[in-house]
């Protein structure tokens, strides 16, 4: 038998952000045993950084809102490449998931009549985001954490999974290490939920934390699961650009929701110059109307700053390329201008956007109530991920393996709307937990492959045995620099092909990394082990981006600047071929149910 500690659970959840915690709570509530693995400490996962709010058609602020409008907004924002069933479930169930948080202690900001307040956000027709100032993610993760610790789950903090274990097709466990001593650990489970978040650390400029190395996508892929839509990486339009050390840190869309405007160095509101056809009817055609919208005028249409993130990010890039950017290669985001509109504007801004105020004063010496911020696009989110069944969240190809939240694909199509991520992880976290528990009740424990464990352990320790080799941090920097330059916000065939060449070299170099010291809390070793995941997801992004020869949603091809002229509609699926190489295939969009198509037509 292996010399490692072994834990047995009915359901093992890998990842302890919003989706993982919500899945764990749901699974534990059904009475099965649940283990929850956190890469960091509990409550520190990336959900904590979500700012603007959670989208749900509660209709507290505007009674014209309903799940149907939310569904349509989500599909339109995703350029109709979304999985329509997931978009339907998400829009219908999000309000209950938000109200449930209140029953668990969350304190959202209130309307005048004491209900949950909702704010405007890009691509949402009505004020829809339940929020707590600009720290909604913290409120959510803390609520789930404080509720979850009393639900019977066992929490393994600072553990990282390096491979999934299978018997036949079915997933039966996971193998990883704990950070403190560097000891290996085996988890046996009847069902596993992946909730590991995104891939932002594959890029140099990112709003994502160190944990976001594509672990779930990569673990699933190597275990035989399919990845989908990996070409769709969201670059959030507004990240900090100055000083250099804070480059990429998120500036919430809530700034624009509260009336913030985008300006170039000539002080022009350039967003009015390019309003896409799909949104023309919903967008203000003058500044005054845009302002009235942000102040709750129900007859007004939204300002162009609140168009979808893919579009706003591209408009910003264009301004910078045309030489109209700000001194540090960004544009201006100005909320201080509302001083001319509101009495006590400074106080209002500090109340509505407290962490933005704090962040800019502390890190950039900018008082956002008095002067504009400098912002530019930052890697923020991946729409693509593990391909799953819409209702159960189980992998399309690996029985017993579930995925929820950012690491799963489908809901957001080609572009995610702000606020739909927090609702995504609640709705589908719950579903993944529920169906994983059901799967666990219907199956018994199966053996885990000792050979796989032995191979993984040996590979993981190899960097210690090399007397010479590469610095893992340097390799990660080189990968990030390369992806930023060759597979970023604006893409071209020749650059993407070059990215593939560079990836081959980086993969070879990754086989030669060397780490020093011992296995205890060794940052170099952890970075070395994360490299495989980063390289796998980067390859999936680059290959998919080459294959989609059109511009749609977040995927912009300079050499194919329009949508596919033949009208072909498909998702791209990445899977490991028999020879071990990554294969990309086109999967035609499944036909949408007639009643849902009708809803979309009615709201055009």
């Amino acid at each position: 038998m292996t010399p490692y500690d072994i834990y047995d659970y009915d359901v093992l959840i890998i990842g302890a952000g919003g989706a993982g915690l919500r899945a764990a709570i749901e699974a534990a509530a059904t009475g099965v045993s649940v283990g929850l693995i956190c890469k960091s400490l509990l409550g520190k996962a990336h959900t904590v950084m979500a700012e603007g709010g959670v989208a749900a058609a509660l209709a507290n602020v505007d009674e014209r809102d309903s799940w149907k409008v939310h569904f349509t907004d989500t599909m339109r924002g995703g350029q109709y490449l979304n999985n329509w069933r997931m978009a339907e479930l998400h829009a219908i169930e999000a309000p209950d998931r938000v109200r449930e948080l209140e029953a668990w202690g969350a304190l959202f900001d209130r309307t005048k009549d004491g209900r949950i307040l909702q704010r405007n956000f890009g691509g949402h027709k009505y004020p829809r985001l339940a929020h707590v100032g600009d720290r909604t993610g913290l409120e959510m993760i803390r609520t789930l954490q404080d509720h979850g610790i009393h639900s019977g789950m066992e929490v393994h903090m600072e553990h990282t999974i390096i491979t999934l274990l299978k018997e036949g097709d079915r997933v039966t466990g996971a193998f990883g290490y704990e950070r403190e001593k560097g000891r290996f650990v085996i988890f046996r489970a009847k069902a596993i939920v992946l909730a590991t978040g995104g891939i932002g650390r594959a890029y140099k400029i990112t709003s994502n934390s160190w944990e976001y190395t594509g672990d779930g996508q990569s673990l699933a892929y190597h275990a035989g699961a399919e990845l989908m839509d990996m070409e769709f990486v969201q670059f959030h339009p507004t990240g900090m650009v100055w000083p250099p050390s804070v480059q990429g840190i998120l500036v919430t869309e809530g700034v624009r929701g509260e009336g913030g405007i985008l300006l170039n160095k000539e002080k022009q509101r350039f967003m009015f110059q390019d309003i896409p056809e799909l949104y023309r009817n919903q967008t203000a055609d003058n500044e005054e109307e845009g302002w009235r919208y942000t102040q709750g005028d129900r007859q007004a249409r939204r300002p162009p700053e609140l168009l979808t993130r893919d579009h706003v990010a591209r408009c910003i890039v264009r301004q910078i390329k045309e030489g109209k950017g700000s001194p540090h290669n960004g544009v201006y985001l100005d909320i201080s201008w509302i001083n001319s509109k509101l009495p006590n504007a400074a106080e209002h801004i500090r109340k509505k956007l407290p962490s933005m105020y704090h962040q800019f004063i502390k890190l950039a010496d900018i008082d956002i109530t008095k002067e504009p911020m400098e912002v530019g696009p930052t890697t923020h989110y991946v729409m693509g991920g593990i391909r799953v069944d819409a209702d159960t969240q189980m992998s399309t190809t690996v029985p017993g393996l579930f995925a929820a939240g950012e690491c799963a694909a489908g809901l957001h199509g080609a572009n995610r709307l702000g606020g739909n991520s927090l609702s995504d992880l609640l709705v589908f976290g719950k579903r993944a937990g529920e169906y994983a528990a059901k799967f666990a009740r219907e199956h018994t424990h199966a053996s885990v492959s000792e050979a796989t464990v032995a191979t993984a352990a040996k590979a993981a320790l190899a960097p210690f045995e090399r007397t010479k080799g590469e610095n893992p941090f340097q390799l990660q920097y080189d990968l990030q620099e390369m992806m930023q330059n060759l597979a970023g916000i604006v893409r071209r065939e020749d650059e993407l092909q070059q990215a593939m060449e560079e990836l081959k070299k980086l993969q070879a170099r990754a086989e030669e990394v060397k780490v020093s010291g011992n296995r205890e809390y060794n940052g170099g070793w952890h970075t070395a082990l994360d490299l495989r995941n980063l390289l796998t997801v980067s390859e999936a992004v680059a290959r998919s981006a080459i294959e989609r020869k059109e511009s749609v949603g977040a995927h912009f091809r300079e050499d194919y600047p329009t949508k596919d002229t033949t009208g072909a509609k498909y998702n791209l699926v990445a899977a490991k071929g028999a020879d071990g190489a990554m294969q990309i295939r086109r999967e035609p969009l499944p036909p949408i149910r007639a009643d849902l198509q009708q809803i979309i037509e009615e709201m055009k």
Partner: protein, 253 residues
């Protein structure tokens, strides 16, 4: 290029020493950037805990020139760089390695506090009504990012190691956020007095001074809790009066 020198604690529970590292610095750098640069270029195996690098997750707590701070929110331009910057792990917790400490006690202690228990919903659809004015003070407590700097600086925990009888400022703030939650009906006063040792706090306000979220820990959370405990256990007349007053005020609604 400008340079700065850091003396960083390297070692584990068995001992260690300060190592000196000199790096190039750029405009706007924070201490965590400097630590990352040291880790990437000079000491790959340096142990440091961090996540968001934006002051939102509370992972990178350490003692910078002897002061408990978040490394990601401490700018080099605010430190005297004509001498080495001293970087040490938090002292109130057992050392794991280098700048990383074992903060798991906070998680175990939190689990002992009775969880949120709401009153019956106010509306037929199962929802509640709350005025913003009534939740403002609890929202202050809920800003807490659990960095545990307040625990680190609390002399009851730091000097006297009384963590078996005292839950510390972070968890008193947590208790206050539950006790003052408009919907909560659970009773935690007896536990606060006995198992959680609120009496050990003698209001030196060190916790409030170090809180990166600027939560007024002592004045807004701990003192009101102390008053509630005192009212319950040390002043029976006042208790009856308060009980009657709460009845009449609830009738007015």
């Amino acid at each position: 290029m400008k340079k700065a020198t850091f003396r960083i604690w390297r070692g584990d529970a068995n001992g260690g020493k300060f190592e000196q590292y000199t790096i190039d610095i750029a405009e706007g750098m924070v201490v965590l950037d400097a630590v990352h640069q040291v880790q990437a270029q000079q000491a790959n195996d340096l142990s440091v805990r961090w996540n968001c690098k934006a002051g939102k997750c509370g992972s990178c707590s350490a003692e910078i020139n002897g002061r408990p701070k978040l490394m990601c929110m401490t700018r080099l331009s605010d430190l005297p760089l004509d001498q080495p910057v001293l970087l040490e792990p938090m002292k109130a917790f057992p050392l794991i390695r280098d700048l990383v400490t074992d903060v798991s006690w906070n998680y175990r202690a939190k689990k002992m506090i009775r969880p949120f228990k709401p009153r019956k919903p106010d509306a037929a659809d199962g929802t509640w009504r709350m005025d913003q004015a009534d939740i403002d003070r609890v929202q202050e407590f809920r800003k807490c990012i659990e960095c545990y700097l307040c625990q680190d600086v609390c002399h009851v925990l730091r000097e006297h190691q009384l963590n078996n009888v005292f839950i510390g400022p972070r968890l008193l703030v947590y208790s206050a956020s539950l006790e003052m939650h408009p919907l909560d009906v659970e009773d935690r006063l007896e536990a606060l007095k006995k198992a959680h040792g609120i009496g050990y706090c003698n209001i030196t306000k060190c916790c409030t001074t170090v809180c990166p979220e600027e939560i007024t820990i002592t004045d807004n959370a701990i003192i009101p809790l102390k008053e509630r405990v005192a009212d319950r256990f040390y002043d029976p007349l006042k208790r009856i009066f308060r009980f009657l007053r709460s009845k009449t005020s609830s009738l007015k609604h």
